[in-house]
């Protein structure tokens, strides 16, 4: 009982439409390419444009792919190693990131300035599942005062910067390719990228193909419905229009097929996203203006959940979802004076979402409802940051963000459904949200830097929180319904970060304490509301529930112990509690990852351990159980192979060497993680 494809938002054969869109894109590129011959070149400036987007700032967490354990890792694996992030796992694929204990609508996940929202009511397709490491230039976790740059949020922003084509006349063609195999899930991974460059323009094409069977947990148990397959294609073209500006166009298509979710009642037969973006960048040519970047983008996500592969279900059902976003923004950076720096980022976004549920009883008529009634959210907002550099040791940033968010339910069916529950017709809630932030950075001595950040943040409720209709949550066993009368959630966040560094040692520690008011969470309704899902415990509605607190710390150490030996350490602790003393759900306990590396980057042996404490801080009301401590050990090796002048890089390793049966604390359904996995990757770059 697969859902049909000819639904709204997804017409025609998908593969054909993609091919057509790609060909149009290629044609566009060729036109730009032909035009480019007329312009003069300037090599020095080109480099500055290429680098201008990467701001290096030691006090902020910017992980330039250090989390990449080996050549074939997934985006999820990379994010899971960053200390600020937690990953909620429902299957072997598409984990949902949390930042310092904040999740879902409390955080922003932003891809290169663009907003992209999953099309699944059960959060089976977070935006991060539609990008691959090969698409990415850097990953940035923003938790400080300027975390609202890309959208209002109470918890912070996960920013994924996309890779750009490299313009380099001296290297017209460059290729990289990695093929990898993992024994545990018989997983094949193919990753490749091609960069073509002329004097004024470049094209980058990358592709990923992954196929994995159900994996085997530590101890030998095979986890059914945990296999998946996916491909990802990205095309990016960049052209220098003048010496000071470039145009860039991106197309990113990602499609997963037959993705298993062992912790849930249903799997996904297809999850597809298409991202299109056009960007204009005006570089540092005139006066004090640093840059002006404008971008227009569109993305479309289609997600089909079904249970056709499950043998025993109480009722067969289909749950397709659609989500599309169109948006535009401009970024302006202006160095008014050597001491005064101003950044302005106005933004407009329109987001549409819809999700259906059709159930097929063994006899009688099919049952249909809208779990997300067709709804649109228009968001208009602007972020402004002013920086003042008092002297070489002190810098302060002040930031403001204001947003107006209008929501509207369009389907009459959806409005009638809502009336049954709420007895009201408030289908057009409007929210205003405000952010105010201040950050002080201080250079204490030549080896010690310090920063203090304080911010007040508001965030509007998301589509599920406003309009969700009987969305079943497997974790607590309740059906969740939205509430159009929700107020914005507010947070006051404080953090202190210290960085102590020398040529062989670097220690960074952050400590934070946040207060959250009008915390949005589902609360149980009276028994008059009977759940829709068979066997559910009851019905919960999103409300602004009292206030909560988040506190914790992260620390990172990077040490060159002796020549050729490098030690890398991360430690994090998070704690979240409501004012009534109960714990905020979905927060993992103390965790540490330690890596010892011997050798150079291309010829090395790496021993790695992941350790997590026992989780005792749980909220039983939300279906959480105490979970035990675990430690897993990985061993990796990298070795170069030379064939004439060509260099092949071989990476081999054993993950979970001791075949430990364990589960991370935010894994749903008590499903254990993969056991011993022997992998091998062969990479070639030219």
């Amino acid at each position: 009982m697969l859902a049909t494809d000819n639904e709204e938002g997804f017409r025609g054969k998908p593969s054909l439409t993609i091919v057509i869109k790609l060909s149009v894109f290629l044609l566009l590129f060729l036109i730009i390419e032909a035009l480019s011959q007329h312009f003069v070149t300037s090599d020095t400036l080109r480099e500055r444009i290429c680098l201008s987007e990467i701001e290096v700032d030691h006090l902020r967490t910017k992980d330039t792919l250090h989390s990449k354990a080996h050549a074939s890792v997934s985006t999820d694996d990379m994010l899971g190693r960053m200390p600020e992030l937690g990953m909620i796992r429902r299957g072997a694929f598409a984990m949902e990131p949390t930042i310092r204990g904040y999740s879902t609508s409390q955080i922003n996940v932003n891809i290169d300035g663009m907003r992209i929202h999953g099309a699944c009511t059960d959060k089976m397709d977070p935006a991060t599942s539609y990008v691959e490491p090969i698409n990415l230039d850097h990953i940035q976790v923003q938790t400080q005062a300027d975390a609202s740059r890309y959208g209002s949020s109470t918890g912070g922003t996960l920013y994924l910067g996309l890779r750009q084509p490299i313009i380099n006349r001296d290297k017209p063609v460059s290729i990289q390719y990695t093929t990898g195999y993992g024994s545990n899930a018989q997983a094949w991974n193919q990753t490749g990228a091609l960069n073509l460059s002329k004097s004024k323009s470049a094209l980058r094409i990358s592709g990923v193909y992954r196929q994995a069977q159900p994996y085997v947990a530590g101890g030998g148990e095979r986890i059914l419905y945990s296999g998946y397959g996916k491909y990802n294609v990205m095309l990016s073209a960049k052209h220098l229009v003048t010496n000071c500006s470039y145009l860039k166009a991106d197309v990113l298509i990602d499609e997963g097929r037959n993705i298993g979710y062992p912790a849930l009642l249903m799997d996904v037969s297809r999850a597809q996203s298409q991202v299109y973006a056009l960007e204009h960048f005006y570089g540092p040519c005139i006066g004090n203006l640093q840059h002006v970047k404008t971008k227009i983008y569109f993305n479309n996500v289609h997600h089909i959940m079904d249970d056709s592969k499950r043998p025993n279900v109480s009722i067969r059902m289909d749950m397709p979802g659609w989500s599309n976003t169109i948006g535009t923004f401009a970024e302006l950076a202006w160095s008014i004076h050597p001491k005064h720096y101003l950044q302005i980022r106005p933004e407009w976004v329109r987001h549409y979402s819809k999700a259906e549920m059709t159930m097929y009883p063994s006899q009688g008529a099919a049952m249909y409802m809208l779990t997300w009634p067709d709804n649109v959210r228009w968001q208009l907002g602007s972020f402004v940051q002013y920086s003042y550099t008092a002297n070489s040791n002190n810098k302060v940033d002040f930031s403001v963000r204001v947003d107006e968010v209008r929501n509207q339910v369009f389907s009459e069916f959806g409005i009638r459904q809502m009336e049954v529950l709420l007895q009201s017709q408030d289908a057009k809630p409007i929210h205003w949200s405000l952010h105010l932030g201040a950050l002080w950075e201080h250079q204490w001595s030549s080896k010690l830097r310090f920063s203090y950040s304080i911010s007040y943040n508001e965030r509007p409720p998301g589509a599920t929180e406003l309009f969700g209709f009987f969305i079943y949550n497997v974790l607590d066993g309740y059906d969740l319904i939205g509430n159009p009368k929700l107020r914005t959630e507010k947070s006051v966040r404080n953090s202190v970060t210290c960085l102590w560094y020398s040529s062989i040692f670097q220690l960074q520690t952050s400590v934070y304490y946040d207060k959250i008011n009008d915390f949005i969470i589902g609360r149980t309704l009276s028994s008059d509301f009977s759940p829709m899902t068979l066997g559910a415990n009851g019905v919960r509605m999103f409300v602004n529930h009292s206030s909560g607190n988040m506190a914790g710390f992260e620390s990172k150490i990077l040490a060159k112990v002796v020549k050729n030996i490098q030690f890398n350490h991360t430690l994090r602790y998070q704690k979240g509690w409501f004012d009534d003393g109960s714990n905020i759900p979905l927060i993992a306990p103390l965790r540490s990852i330690n890596t010892l590396k011997y050798g150079s980057n291309s010829r090395s042996i790496v021993l790695e351990s992941e350790w997590s404490a026992w989780r005792r801080r749980v909220n039983q009301e939300y279906g959480e159980k105490s979970t035990p401590s675990f430690v897993v050990v990985h061993l990796r090796a990298n070795y170069p192979i030379f064939i004439k002048t060509h260099k092949l890089q071989l990476g081999v390793g054993v993950e979970n060497m001791l075949d430990t049966k364990y589960r991370e604390h935010l894994d749903w359904g008590g499903i254990p993680r993969p056991g011993r996995n022997i992998y091998a990757n062969l990479s070639y770059a030219w």
Binding site: M367, Y368, M532
Partner: protein, 271 residues
């Protein structure tokens, strides 16, 4: 050049004006959306009777509308006493059916009432609807009879039940919603009892309680409003359906606080 611009403006204006050729809407009559089932004369009272329905007659609750004209003056009558006597002729025997009294005053020229047909027309027998009118202008009473064809379509919205305490035969019908939809539905049920073969007065002294459920899912719906007994034996409340599909509506008949009868309706809820 100026002439050219003027020409363009002119053409544009003509084009747009020319496009606007929508006719003024003709005056609508309330009977336009209805079906005229029969017409005839109550000869003694000099009244022409036209009978309208919104959908063809079927088993269960049927709203019925009458337009009366004074056949001597040709004037429309908007004040009259009308009595309905449905009669099932089964050859060897005859019986009646419950009715909802017709209003004395016409609204928009139409008198409205209702008939609860207990069985379909067919081989078993045929239904006649006898209409008795009192023409207040000449103060004369007379009647006419229309044969009506009753289909079995609405049989799921009609139940006869016998009370446990005194074996009263009750006629329970859902007047609305006739086509239940997802969302809030106004609920009206009629309750009559059988006094004799031709007399079905409204059943006083009973309260109705209902509960909608979805048997295949085992859930109900929230915020339902239990019916209260209004005028004419009609019980009005609200029933909510949260999704499409097959629903079941259980109804309990209470006398005071004692449950004296129960039944259920099977409803197909559409979007």
């Amino acid at each position: 050049m100026k002439n050219f611009i003027a020409f363009i403006i002119c053409v544009t204006v003509i084009f747009f004006v020319g496009c606007d050729n929508s006719d003024p809407e003709p005056a609508k009559s309330v009977t336009d959306s209805m079906l005229k089932v029969s017409e005839g004369y109550a000869v003694g009272a000099a009244v022409k009777i036209e009978m309208y329905v919104k959908s063809p007659f079927k088993v269960g609750y049927n709203n019925v509308y009458f337009k009366l004209t004074d056949s001597t003056s040709g004037g429309v009558i908007d004040d009259s006493h009308i009595h309905l006597y449905p009669e099932m002729d089964m050859g060897t025997m005859k019986h009646g059916a419950p009715v909802v009294e017709v209003d004395h005053k016409a609204v928009d020229g139409l008198f409205s009432g209702a008939v609860v047909f207990s069985m379909p027309s067919g081989d078993m027998g045929k239904w006649n609807l006898i209409i008795e009118v009192h023409n207040h202008k000449n103060d004369k009473e007379s009647s006419t009879s229309f044969e009506v064809n009753v289909s079995n379509a609405g049989s799921n919205l009609f139940k006869t039940i016998t009370t446990l305490d005194d074996s009263t035969k009750l006629y329970l019908a859902i007047a609305e919603p006739q086509n239940p939809k997802v969302g809030i539905n106004e609920l009206t049920m009629s309750l009559h009892y059988q006094k004799d073969a031709f007399s079905f007065p409204k059943a006083n002294g009973y309260t109705l309680q209902f509960e909608p459920t979805m048997p295949s899912m085992g859930h109900g719906s929230p915020n339902n409003v239990q019916p209260i007994d209004g005028l004419k034996g009609l019980h009005s409340g609200r029933v909510n359906f949260s999704m499409t599909g097959d629903w079941r509506m259980d109804v309990k008949v209470l006398k005071g606080t004692d449950e004296v009868a129960k039944t259920y309706f099977e409803l197909n809820v559409s979007n």
